[in-house]
């Protein structure tokens, strides 16, 4: 391991350099810039693969390596080194990010072919890869935060990639800003968590803060506070309730971005943070419970929203939110859930990226149309997309043996594991997880058949859908194969769980409240029911081209369960009111208050100025009067006529 550890910095360095070359190189790099971007990402992937390969060859207990680069920040008792931590967890992420990232890079070469700013796009993608790798490879919370905000920046840049040129482009910019700002709200949590950690433990690196000794010295209250702060951060990054509102809008970015950042990698960073901070959460059961609740709420929230969306990307975004809810729920369940959270994250990374790229392929074919009510019957024209998306569809549904089954089922089982003293938990969260699986089946089936199924295409005029270039469909094939097989490869026999054990710890085996086969069977039944319902509604019958008004729930779901309205009324309007009040206050109270002082002075001046009439005789009278006054005073003091 140690002989190749020197390569680790290049994981981040190569894409970073790539981004720098593309950004600073300007138009000179236009011709070959995109290939440079692909190469940088691929090079990172190769290094990741080498490291992975070497790590598999090392004994389990030596798999966690901290690679020190240089002293970053050393002041007043805080010593943070710039260092990388390579362990099974971070390497899983490295593989996911570089592999899926490279595929999406390749896909983008074709997808962005006609965009004059393709070079800039690849620069941002490379920047993203570098930032994401920094996030997962960091050996301290502070460096993690660098990557954390770095991916936020990349996300901001990419969501707003088409933010200029035409009037409606402003909306993309607004969406980008919304994403960044809501992420920042979460980042407040990370900053606060770091402050609490430093106050409690005197350090910010994982090695110290997450060690048993350090955590033993933390009070449960502090641990809970830290855990909740970290959860806030995770909610922002991973679009969890109540900071979920930005994800749907983030679909304004190019579709490869949605696939890479807003499905496969960045949005799952919150789950990574939770799993990485597992020891802290375990020291704070209350925080854990809140994590689970947030996960469960988001799971249902996203699923419900997903059922009503007609925009294919927004439906997938809602689905992403919901699936991350699963991961978050698992991350809150302790060691039993960690491995499955990450496993689901990995499989989700593949199948959701596949689904998004498939959606991109469909959009590409349909002239950037995203309304599913305008699709239909595409299976004949886009066979490769149809098959690969079908694999993704089966995977997300959790149909065995596709990958989603292995990971999601693990989470559902873990949710059913009873917690001492809180018997209701297993039932509530288990039921929610199963219910969520059913709704997931419904909306994904709806999406799939609205797009590909149906007897009659509902296209707008002059549509000639066709598959894109091989650069576009080869990544689809890879991801499709991954969606199908990854679970089988890693899930059978618990390979993946064992792999992560050095990091997340060994989970004692607990029996769920229901027997495992019962859980699996009932889940499958619910899933099939949901899928059949959707099949009946959207494949068997005609889909109207205009959305029907729908029930109250449908309308609410279409409007994201009024999340924006709620934010508007609960946060933005009051905040704006306060800001207006302050603005008026600053002008009319503070500023005017200060100008009161000179006003009073000038008022005095105006009063005394009147004495300066300019009339010589007035002045003379003043002088004479003064003489008189002095004389009288002298008279009174000295006595008249001298003392003799």
């Amino acid at each position: 391991m140690n002989d190749v550890i020197g390569l680790a910095p290049w994981l981040i360095g190569i894409p970073l350099i790539g981004a720098a070359i593309l950004l600073l190189g300007g138009k000179a790099t236009d011709r070959w810039g995109h290939w440079l971007g692909v190469a940088a990402s691929a090079a990172s992937g190769v290094i990741g693969f080498i490291l992975m390969f070497r790590m598999i060859g090392t004994p389990a207990e030596e798999r966690s390596v901290d690679h020190h680069l240089w002293t970053w920040l050393s002041a007043g008792g805080l010593d943070v080194d710039l260092g990388l931590r390579l362990d099974p967890l971070s390497l899983v992420f490295v593989m996911l990010v570089t592999f899926v990232g490279t595929l999406i890079h390749v896909y983008s070469v074709a997808y962005m072919d006609h965009d004059p700013h393709r070079r800039r796009f690849f620069a941002y993608l490379n920047l993203f890869v570098a930032a994401m790798l920094t996030l997962v490879l960091a050996d301290s919370y502070l460096l993690l935060f660098v990557g954390w905000e770095g991916v936020g920046l990349a996300s901001y840049l990419l969501i707003g990639f088409w933010d200029t040129g035409r009037p409606s482009a402003r909306e993309n910019a607004v969406a980008a800003k919304k994403a960044f700002v809501m992420n920042r709200i979460g980042d407040m949590g990370l900053i606060a968590a770091m402050a609490l950690l430093f106050a409690g433990t005197g350090a910010l690196d994982f090695a110290t803060t997450l060690s048993d000794d350090t955590l033993g010295s933390l009070s449960e209250g502090t641990a809970t506070a830290i855990g909740l702060c970290l959860l806030l951060a995770a909610c922002g990054k991973s679009a969890q309730f109540p900071l979920q509102a930005w994800l749907g809008d983030a679909m304004a970015g190019p579709t490869p971005v949605s696939a890479l950042i807003h499905a496969a990698t960045m949005v799952t960073a919150g789950v990574y943070l939770m799993v990485r901070s597992g020891p802290i959460l375990e020291a704070a059961p209350t925080a854990q419970l809140v994590v689970v609740i947030v996960g469960a709420v988001t799971l249902l929230f996203g699923a419900v929203v997903g059922t009503a969306k007609d925009d294919i990307k927004k439906a997938l975004a809602a689905s992403t939110m919901s699936q991350i809810g699963y991961m978050m729920l698992a991350a809150g369940l302790g060691p039993a859930g960690y491995a499955f959270a990450i496993f689901h994250l990995l499989t989700h990374g593949f199948f959701k990226a596949g689904l998004f790229l498939g959606a991109g392929s469909v959009m590409h074919a349909m002239g950037d149309q995203t309304d599913m009510r305008r699709f239909g019957g595409l299976s004949r024209f886009l066979p490769i997309t149809w098959i690969t998306m079908g694999l993704g569809w089966l995977a997300i549904l959790g149909i065995p043996p596709f990958s989603g089954f292995w990971s999601k089922d693990g989470i559902i089982e873990a949710a059913f594991i009873p917690v001492e003293g809180q018997p209701w938990r297993a039932w509530v969260f288990g039921t929610v997880a199963v219910l969520g699986a059913g709704i997931t089946a419904f909306y994904m089936t709806r999406l799939f058949f609205m797009t590909f199924g149906g007897r009659r295409p509902r296209w707008t005029e002059n549509q000639h859908p066709h598959e894109g270039s091989p650069l576009m469909w080869w990544p689809l094939v890879f991801l499709g194969v991954g969606s199908a097989a990854l679970g089988l490869v890693l899930g059978v026999g618990g390979t993946f769980v064992t792999w992560l054990e050095p990091v997340v710890g060994h989970a004692e085996h607990h029996e769920p409240v229901l027997p495992v086969p019962v859980i699996i069977t009932s889940t499958l039944v619910v899933v099939v029911l949901g899928a059949l319902l959707a099949f009946r509604m959207y494949a068997m019958s005609l889909v109207p081209e205009e959305a029907p008004r729908g029930s109250f729930l449908t309308r609410a779901a279409r409007r994201d369960l009024y999340q924006d309205a709620a934010n508007e009324t609960l946060v933005l309007k009051p905040a704006h009111g306060v800001a207006r009040l302050l603005q008026v206050g600053d002008r009319d109270v503070v500023d005017r208050g200060w100008s009161l002082l000179p006003q009073v002075l000038s008022w005095f001046g105006a009063v005394f100025r009147k004495a300066q009439s300019g009339y010589v005789r007035s002045y003379a009278a003043g002088m004479a009067g003064g003489v008189l006054v002095i004389a009288v005073v002298a008279w009174l003091v000295v006595g008249l006529g001298g003392a003799q």
Partner: protein, 273 residues
Amino acid sequence: MTPAGLEISGGETVLFWVIAPLMVLAALGLLFVKRAVHAAMCLVFVMVSMAILYIAQEAPFLGVVQVVVYTGAVMMLFLFVLMLVGVDASDSLTETIRGQRWIGVLIGIGLAVILGGVVANATFPPAAGLGGGDPGGVANPQALARVLFGDYVLAMEAVGVLLVTAAVGALVLTHRRRLTPKQTQESVADRRIKALPDGVVLTPLPPPGVYARSNAMDTPALGPDGEQVPQSVSRVLRIRGQERPAPEGPAVVVSTSSTRGATSSTPESERDA
């Protein structure tokens, strides 16, 4: 040097009691008479009386100087200036600054009371006198001259400089700066040539009375075309309306001497200017 306890003679007492009230009255005249000239006359009266009192108080030199300098020079200067300035609204006794009258009166009375009080309460030494009648004493002008040109010679010189400075200062202050350039023969000629398009005639106009029936200052000349030339009559006469129209009819023969005299006179436009 002088015997203590100078007796003030009865004559001086009478003089004082006659002159002092008159002086106060005249001084009050400054306050109450309307015209500045009358005020000046009042002041002259006060000053002459003051000279008399000086002489009575063993200061004959000062008395004379008072008459010469004040009444002779200063007051004459005042009168000259009054003559220059003339009578104007400022002579009126109505007060324009609010409250000024009462303030002024109060201050005046206050000053009088304070000064009077001081004088009344002070203990003065008995009058020593300057020994003017004493044969051993020195006559006033000589004694004064000794002091002035002895102890105070420097002050005397300084005062002399002051006077000269004041005189020069007055000159500078009253000096008028020329606002327009001085007219020369050349500039006058230039101006007239420039005014040629406005109908000014370059050649001298005929003098009045030329070719008129009667050769007189108040009769305009007749031009070669027989028309009258009104400008040939003096402007003063025209303004006064004492111009006499030239009679109709052919010109009479006029004496050559008067014609010669008329042609040699200054041009009309010059006269007008």
